[in-house]
Amino acid sequence: MQFTKLKGGTKGKVNAMSLFKGPMHQHIPGHKDLTETKEVRVLKPQQWVYIPLYAGHSTDFEILVHEGEHVYAGTKIAVCNDRIVVPIYASVSGTVRGVQKLMHATLKTQDHLIIESDGKYEMRQAFAPLDYQRAGKEELVEFMMNAGIVGCGGAGFPAYMKYKNVKDIKKLIINAVECEPYITADYKMVQSNLDLMVTGVLAMKKMAQAQSCVIAIKKTHPELIKQVQEAVANIADVTVVSVPDVYPMGWERTLVRHLMQADYKRLPSEIGAIVNNATTAIAFGNALINGMPIIEKTVTVSGDGIKEPCNVRVPVGMQVKEITEACGGYTDEEVKLIAGGPMMGKTIVNDQFVVDRASDALTVLKIVPYKDVACLRCGQCSDHCPAGLQPVRIAQSLNAKDKAMMERLSVMDCIECGLCTYVCPSRLDVTENVRKAKRQMQLAKK
């Protein structure tokens, strides 16, 4: 299929000039050149691997292995007891050494299964591959669930949920936007796994029974666009679409709004769209063809706080400390170590945490002190909020402890993308205020 020039391109500009709302997004310097052109380094853990027993919001896992048991890379080690079932697999071969509570990339302590690697990385096919062309829709959803595919866009939500009980899907949107600054892991994954991605995409398209499929890539990456275009050139109803280099273009809602010029209440399937990350499609393709779950991750290690920014491919559960050491260490005695990108990733106060299935980046930044001044009520935060919220008013409601006002301001719809803090000229922690308001609302509900 040929590359379609985006219809929404000019409309997006008109929207940005809209009288009654702000642009709802913002270009942020990406610094992607730090890692985009470099080879992906393959790293292996020295001895210990800590597999997080965590998926989405589920923490209630039944562990299938016992201490001292030998496992292979690909051995199923735990299943979730929640209604959302996503099994967890070992990422290295070695011996199970128990379970320990450790700091997780989400800034909460979680149970981690400790495996002592034997250094051999012996793999076992985790489950039987599946020919998506022969399999039915239900079968594919079931397969995706059992393969432990989680959304690789950052939230780590089980991917199969999106395909359950959906109908009238017009568009499957494959998200290769990667709107967070510094991160290039998705690009690297796509470039080196084009075949797997195409398989995953076609299977997903079948599961969704979608009329068409678009792969969204930022227009600032023409090389990647060209490569993907060539890969899908002969496939009907699958096209590449370029999107503007703005944040948070990769957020489901912003992407759907841009591509379909429509809004939805809760889920994009309401207006006939399903959005999945390109890396998720690759993981799914890998599961279908090779019978392997996500046991390896490509992670961007970047920022001005790391000596040798690059992409690394590591087994899930590898400690960050080992990765940063392999990247030449830190540039300063005091840095911010962020699990994820600089906008939504959380700063972790040690480097003992591990790479999880949903991890795609480690951003290390130097400390830049900012002096804040009083809020001048400029409304930049409201203008840029991709969810259309009004952070400045939310801050006022927080000051006034006015829960009714918080409710009216739809505080809970905040996705904490961080754009309000980014644009705030008074250097206030706007997003943090909204988080506090969210917390108050949650407490009030309990």
Binding site: L19, G22, I338, L376, R377, R408, P425
Partner: protein, 499 residues
């Protein structure tokens, strides 16, 4: 190794509030520099320096007030001053004042705007009213007469308000008004006296565009405000029945504080709504009030109070537009449309009840020969000289009128020295060749108006054989009496000739 905690996100854009204020200040100073140049060019160095002096005084008062407040409330001085932005208020306030304002009035107004307008509300970010507008209102209320006479000139706004009632339909008067203000192009460029920084619409527009592009000000407020003022003024012009009406909305845009208010005052983020929709409603409301106050209010200019009133309504607008912006957008559009319709209704109603300015037609006053007053005046032909060319020169003394009693005429009825006229008559047809005043004793500046050639030329060619009447030169009472004095002298010659 230390890993610092910081709530996400961990990136910041470059633009800071301090930079916004700095760029705003540069924009203001560019406009100010234009004005100073104008006053230098038009009135000389003294007046230009007066502008600078006023600015310095306002800045000094602002600085002192804020310093004392910081000391009094025990805040660290430098961080407080650099985060309070008092100088912006001082600059804007100075630029809203005419150059004729006395420095002490400006100083006191600055104190009021900083102290009461801002600090008492809780400082920068907390104030309800635009501090500079607040200070300007103080001057309006308390220092209306506190002006110096460095220059005396009528501003286009005052002229339009006092002499033209903000509504002119008569094409002759429109062209007269345009001549008085130097045309729309002069109004646009700003080469006329007015409030120091408000005159040059052109300069303010250029600065406004740059500031909007640099995201120092929000483009919505000036664009909507100016467009709405244009539309509502057009509604008035059309309702009032102007045939060629385009000049009228443009006059509204280019005169007074509309452009300055749009770019520098309504855009004050602290006192305007935060959301895009709120800003639109805010600007629309301000435009309606500006036009209404101008055409129907007692003040010559409506910008200031429209800003203050809309500042007051800001919390209400904020509350009305609370919620998810994409959802509230429809509600906002309805509010906007309703207000726009109401505004159009109000201004057209106003336009239909205002009397358009009319040319003051002066009633012509004539002195006729049967005027009873003439007979009470004494007159005497002092000499008669035949000029040898068919004309005769009569030197006639006739009584006049003066407010002050003259020494030689103690008669209270006509308490003045008599006036002396030289009247030359063509003997062939008994017509007057010329009348000249040789001695004028009537009240200065009033009586002596009869000496104008325009008045005296009325007599030339006048046939003494028939009745005649003379138009009074100026309908001032004293002049009427003096006119009668001249007529009395001519009548004396007529009598002498036997008619």
């Amino acid at each position: 190794m230390k890993f610092t905690f910081n709530p996400a996100p961990n990136l910041r854009q470059k633009q800071s509030t301090k930079r916004i204020m700095l760029e705003l200040m540069l924009g203001l100073l560019a406009v100010f520099a234009f004005s100073v140049y104008f006053y230098y060019d038009e009135y000389g160095t003294d007046v230009a320096l007066q502008c600078v002096l006023l600015m310095l005084i306002s800045l000094a008062v602002a600085l002192v007030t804020e310093t004392l407040w910081a000391l009094f409330t025990r805040q660290k001085l430098i961080p407080f001053l650099s985060g309070s932005f008092g100088w912006i208020t001082a600059i804007i306030l100075t630029m809203m004042c005419p150059v004729t304002i006395t420095p002490y009035a400006l100083g006191i107004a600055t104190f009021f705007s900083i102290f009461i307008g801002k600090l008492l509300f809780g400082g920068f970010g907390q104030n309800i009213f635009n501090p500079a507008a607040f200070g300007r209102a103080v001057i309006f209320a308390s220092f209306a007469g506190a002006t110096t006479d460095v220059i005396t000139a009528v501003t286009p706004t005052t002229l339009m308000a006092t002499e033209y009632n903000w509504l002119v339909v008569d094409p002759n008067m429109i062209s007269k008004l345009m001549t008085q203000v130097g045309g729309l192009d002069n109004l646009f460029v700003g080469f006329y006296p007015g409030a120091i920084g408000e005159t040059s619409a052109l300069m303010i527009m250029i600065v406004g565009v740059i500031l909007a592009l640099r995201k120092v000000i929000d483009w919505r407020i000036p664009v909507i405000y100016l467009c709405a003022v244009f539309v509502f003024a057009s509604v008035i012009a059309i309702t009032a029945g102007m045939s060629d009406w385009l000049w009228y909305p443009l006059f509204h845009l280019f005169s007074g504080g509309v452009m300055f208010g749009a770019v520098f005052m309504l855009t004050d983020p602290v006192t305007s709504p935060t959301s895009a929709q709120g800003k639109c409603i805010f600007a629309l409301g301000a435009a309606i009030l500006t036009v209404l106050i101008r055409v129907k209010g007692n003040y010559p200019e409506g910008v200031l109070y429209s800003i203050l009133i809309m500042n007051m309504l800001t919390p209400m607008i904020e509350k009305a537009t609370d919620g998810k912006q994409l959802v509230v957008r429809k509600k906002s559009a309805v509010i906007f449309a309703v207000i726009a319709a109401l505004g159009a209704g109000c201004v057209s109603l106003a336009a239909s009840v205002i009397e358009p300015a009319k040319e003051k037609v002066k009633e012509k006053v004539f002195v006729k020969l049967d005027d009873p007053y003439l007979s009470t005046l004494q007159a005497n032909i002092d000499s008669t000289v035949d000029n040898g060319d068919g004309t005769t020169t009569y030197i006639v003394t006739a009584q006049g009128f003066a407010a002050v009693e003259g020494p030689n005429m103690p008669n209270y009825d006509h308490p003045t020295d008599p006036n002396v006229y030289e009247i030359i008559v063509n003997r062939s047809d008994n017509t007057v060749k010329s009348v000249r005043v040789t001695k004028m004793s009537d009240t200065e500046y009033i009586g002596d108006k009869v000496e104008s050639p325009k008045f005296l030329s009325q007599f030339e060619g006048l046939s003494l054989a028939s009745e005649f009447e003379i138009e009074v030169n100026d309908a001032v009472t004293g002049a009427t009496y003096t006119t009668k004095s001249v007529v009395r002298a001519v009548l004396e010659v007529r009598n002498a000739l036997g008619f």
